[in-house]
Symmetry: none
Subunit: 190 residues, 4 copies
Amino acid sequence: MAIVVPVNRRLPDGDARTRILDAAEELFAGGGYDATPTARIAELAGVPKGLVFHYFPRKIDVLISLVDERTVVTEEDVEAVPGDAAGTLSKLAQMLPLRASPAMRRILFREADTHRSVRERLGRLNTEIIRRARFALELALPGSRGDAARLEAAAATFAAVLLYQESLCLLTGHHIDPDAVAELIAHALG
Amino acid sequence: MAIVVPVNRRLPDGDARTRILDAAEELFAGGGYDATPTARIAELAGVPKGLVFHYFPRKIDVLISLVDERTVVTEEDVEAVPGDAAGTLSKLAQMLPLRASPAMRRILFREADTHRSVRERLGRLNTEIIRRARFALELALPGSRGDAARLEAAAATFAAVLLYQESLCLLTGHHIDPDAVAELIAHALG
Amino acid sequence: MAIVVPVNRRLPDGDARTRILDAAEELFAGGGYDATPTARIAELAGVPKGLVFHYFPRKIDVLISLVDERTVVTEEDVEAVPGDAAGTLSKLAQMLPLRASPAMRRILFREADTHRSVRERLGRLNTEIIRRARFALELALPGSRGDAARLEAAAATFAAVLLYQESLCLLTGHHIDPDAVAELIAHALG
Amino acid sequence: MAIVVPVNRRLPDGDARTRILDAAEELFAGGGYDATPTARIAELAGVPKGLVFHYFPRKIDVLISLVDERTVVTEEDVEAVPGDAAGTLSKLAQMLPLRASPAMRRILFREADTHRSVRERLGRLNTEIIRRARFALELALPGSRGDAARLEAAAATFAAVLLYQESLCLLTGHHIDPDAVAELIAHALG
DNA sequence: TATGAATGAGAATTCATTCAT
DNA sequence: GATGAATGAATTCTCATTCAT
């Protein structure tokens, strides 16, 4: 005996591997890595459970691949406007050196303690923001070379605010305006 | 009618409930809430598995109790030194309005997603730091009343740095000196 | 150090043992014996958990005591009215040979397979109803002696209806009027 | 597009899901739902513990599926013999409108409290027996239309006896002969 | 009698992962 | 590649029962 079964048409949005990553991104951001069963990822991706393990031998590989492929720390420098430190920082804020969705940013911060690869990526991002902020400020304020320590503190402060404003808002409901912080820091160094 | 009842003397290492909370504090801070089985809490506390559930019907109640009982957000104001905004902020940094062990601070930041009660406590702490920083700055800089928005941004920035410097250091290895940030902010408002 | 603690005033409705049985009766009838933790019995009774085991060494003893003490199968005969079989059976229906609350009746039927002592009590009750129905019918219908088998069937039928009408109503929502059945049976034998 | 898929041939003792239901049927009938651990079901079915939850996410789903799939209330009418009410009822008794093993019948009656779905099935069965008994009696006794109430009581009585005779016998050892009851009722209406 | 902390066996359930098809 | 049944270790949680006070 035999039965005729129609083959599921592929969903339009990408191949299976991509759909799995999409689903994982959404679920990891929402409930966290530990609280997300692979079965739920498969379900949301619309693929059979086994396929997840076909592409990602271990569950952790899904997270690692997500971070590897979807949180790219870019390295182009900000275009500094000489004399306009505030504007330069604002530009940096608007163009974080991170190509990642809000969901991926959330994952990056949330899962950082749990997994080395995530931590490393976050570290690189932090370093890059600081480096770029320092660089931008140096260009924007050519005169202030004298006070390297204060410049360093300013860059680190700005990086901390940029990195955590989103989490902070989500967790505490308190919104920080990066432009206001940029202006504040520029004033401090001016 | 009334009876005189002797209060239970605490055992040297505290009673069972306390030992359970101690163990949970250590383990949650180390590996995270989700990654810590209740059995391991019991083991480290030196109590039978069942006793954990005697005191804390659900696992999450351990976390909730920990946060309720071991992270007290205090509300005394910082002693502001008129004219010395940097010093005043430094004092605030040294005396966070949070009575909690380093482990509990770690839990507070890390598990904010895990449960509403943790999130609320973190939110209250954030609010309190901002309030206190604003208050301190107002006292220290009586002249700057004109620019409320910049004061607000300064307070929020300082709170963000205070809240996340520890996490940031742990995750990225990058250390921020709160005193330098205090000085920076004072300068910006000066 | 010592603290003055007011002793809980005893609740007005009986001593602890009675209150435990009251609570168990309510809970066993509602959710069943297996699904009722002893802790919930203690709670509803307003006594400490340990006291339940003081009076009833094992949980099953609560059920056994309930059945022993609160389902008394009486043995007085119904007053038969010669010539009025229907009325006599109706009287029997109104005055079941069972001194028990509706809750206890429910327990008797529900827990009968689980525990021998309950089963025995239910068996005795069934036997007694049949015996009494037969006796009543014999008195009420002196002429019908010829057909012992039909009388037996009538008595058993009436017993089944009396025993199960309540459960049936609870479970299926279908109500049976014992008087109508009494009348039916009387007619069958008349 | 379509693919030809061979239907899984059943293993000699049925596939795993079937074996799980078989085991549950036996154990629920024997010791009751609450007293049967899922581990014992798995053991008797010869499958690993986890597989039970693969097919039935919650334990109660085993019971629900059992009732859904293995207690079919049929709806064909009994062939009534005009003028022979007793014979017609006897036929109904021999051919209960229920396709179910003795074990399933036991489960149906015993676990009616345990879950709504069981209760509903039992209710439908009761309704169907009454409906059918009434219909059969109407056909068999065309003259008795005058007394609808008595007919109703007769149908309900017969249903109660049919439903509970088995339980009653098991619990009390008292056997009721449905034929005798059929005859009794026929006589009452004749 | 009274009390509630202590105990541990066992229950349901979860879930990453494997594997035959 | 695709599929979902199979596996079993681990986890949370329940609860009768004991026992020191």
